[in-house]
Amino acid sequence: MTVALESLTTCFQGLLPAQLFTCSADGIPNAAYLSHVDYVDSTHVALSYQFFNKSRRNITENPQALVFVPDPDTGQGWSLRLKYVRSETEGPLFDRMALRIEAIASYCGLKGIFKLRAADIYEVLHVEPVAEEVGTVRPQSHQAAAAAASPIFTINALQTLSARIHRADSLETLVDSILLALEESFGFSHSMFLVPAEEKDVLVTIATRGYSENGAGAEVRLGEGICGMVAEARKPIRISGLMRGMLYALAMHREAQNPDSKRRRIPLPGLPNPESQLGVPLLSRGELVGVLCVESEVPYRFHEEDKASIELLGSYLAIAVQNMLLQERTADTIAEPAAAAPPIAALAPSAPAQTRREVVYYAADECIMVDGEYLIRSIPAKILWRLLSAHEATGRREFTNRELRLDKSLNLPEWKDNLESRLLLLRRRLEQKCPQIGLISCGRGRFALDVRCELALATRP
């Protein structure tokens, strides 16, 4: 082999289409396009087997193949002379390839339609540059691409993230610190943080960074989109060349005409045209604490060598989030009752009402609408309704997490109620949809309701 295969890992991101040349036993050549070539080890690659097509038939007759893969960083094409070895229908490699296919299909709302039949393993016999696909040195001015070529998860960046995490004193500041550090230290300006919702197999977005709307409350089912796939598989997913992958999936969909595929596209908060996405499950002792998703318009943003760092980062963030939740709950448990607590002096008096907002609680749906527009549902809706009702009846503005936990009408779970996550979600939804109502933190386990409008409360069945 003239060139080491491991030096070509950038070619295996699926950013540019690859070509596969085969030949039947009776001497008829075949030229086909490939969605993806996967790096296996220094002497092997894997090709996805999704349909029993002519290339696959040829390989069963004649195991020789030739593949062209272009390097997305330089444009240099590489020719890999291959020999088919075996097919894998399970195991880490198969799972990784299947997950990528499913994640892209799911992002298009086409989950479950495209199945990976096997990961076909080929020995790489020879590697050489393609003479008519000559690479060029990237000019210095191409900053986005240059940034893409540099490593991301450096020790310095991780140290900065760690310092921010240690300074956080609440779930809100912790999550915001993580997203801020991802931008300042790692250069990821678009990110989102999701946690398990009350409803089984649903994730809810509690914080985002870099988008025009904060996206709080956006829900994703397990297995839907990159975040849903990450939560379902409990494995990181990294996709480069997402647009190409989506075009490939949509082309297959048009061809397949599967009646089950008429599903709505998932309304994820996110970039309109993401090229790279990275989803990380936040796992602590096997429990899914949340999902962190970052995305970029740069096609090849996340590198192969970052994979271990990404998994480590996920574990670290999971522990940080879980510790914060436990800390808040513990502090809350030993706190004095609200009546005995000192008044919240820092809170400014409510501003005079200049606008009127109609807030309606729909009991059957456990959901709140503001001026006819959906605000929030489930436990956060019940919490807000309790606060607003108390405020209307008595003028009360100060509340504690503890009293919410003791309120049986909210039906919070006895263990792991995720109250802090729910309050954070509620706060973010109010900021976005009804900024005249605010929840202001007043120290651990205490907060104030800040109403700066005239409220008209109503309940409906």
Partner: protein
């Protein structure tokens, strides 16, 4: 054999690859720059940079078997035409315009899916050779279960 709409697709600035094979059935391949469908709608001329042609022309001269894959990056529509090699010659000066026009369309298509022109700026387009072949079969190749379906055949 090559219906008008297929011809328009083929000549619309696609990713084109030519496949051949050796006497030992080893596959070979090269990237092509452009294609021209002749008026008889049976013969095609595929244009390759000189550097690319060197790898596949010996195979064509030895056994005549040829397969050409076409793919449009913006929607992944693809087809493959198989046939019999007829002849090869240097591309003439007046064919350069066809080559450069289709090549630019192809690069514009790549740009539409986020692949900048700089990535292909070093790929040679001239001098080129013209490989003429007679089509025998056309196959659907858009990704999906119908990839490989025979669209047209002529012996």
């Amino acid at each position: 054999m090559i219906e008008p709409d297929l011809r328009a697709f083929l000549e619309g600035g696609l990713g084109i690859h030519i496949g051949t094979r050796t006497a030992r059935l080893e596959p070979n391949g090269a990237r092509a720059l452009a294609v021209k469908v002749e008026e008889d709608r049976l013969h095609l001329i595929v244009y390759l940079a000189d550097a690319a042609a060197r790898r596949v022309v010996p195979d064509l001269r030895a056994n005549s078997a040829v397969a050409v894959g076409f793919a449009r990056p913006v929607d992944e529509r693809a087809c493959q035409i198989k046939g019999i090699f007829v002849d090869v010659r240097p591309a003439a000066g007046d064919e350069r315009r066809v080559i450069e026009e289709q090549w630019e369309w192809f690069r514009a298509n790549l740009e539409r899916i986020g692949i900048p022109r700089i990535g292909t700026s070093g790929w040679p387009t001239w001098p080129a050779v013209a490989i003429r072949f007679r089509a025998t079969t056309v196959f659907e190749q858009t990704p999906g279960p119908d990839a490989g379906t025979l669209v047209a055949a002529r012996s």
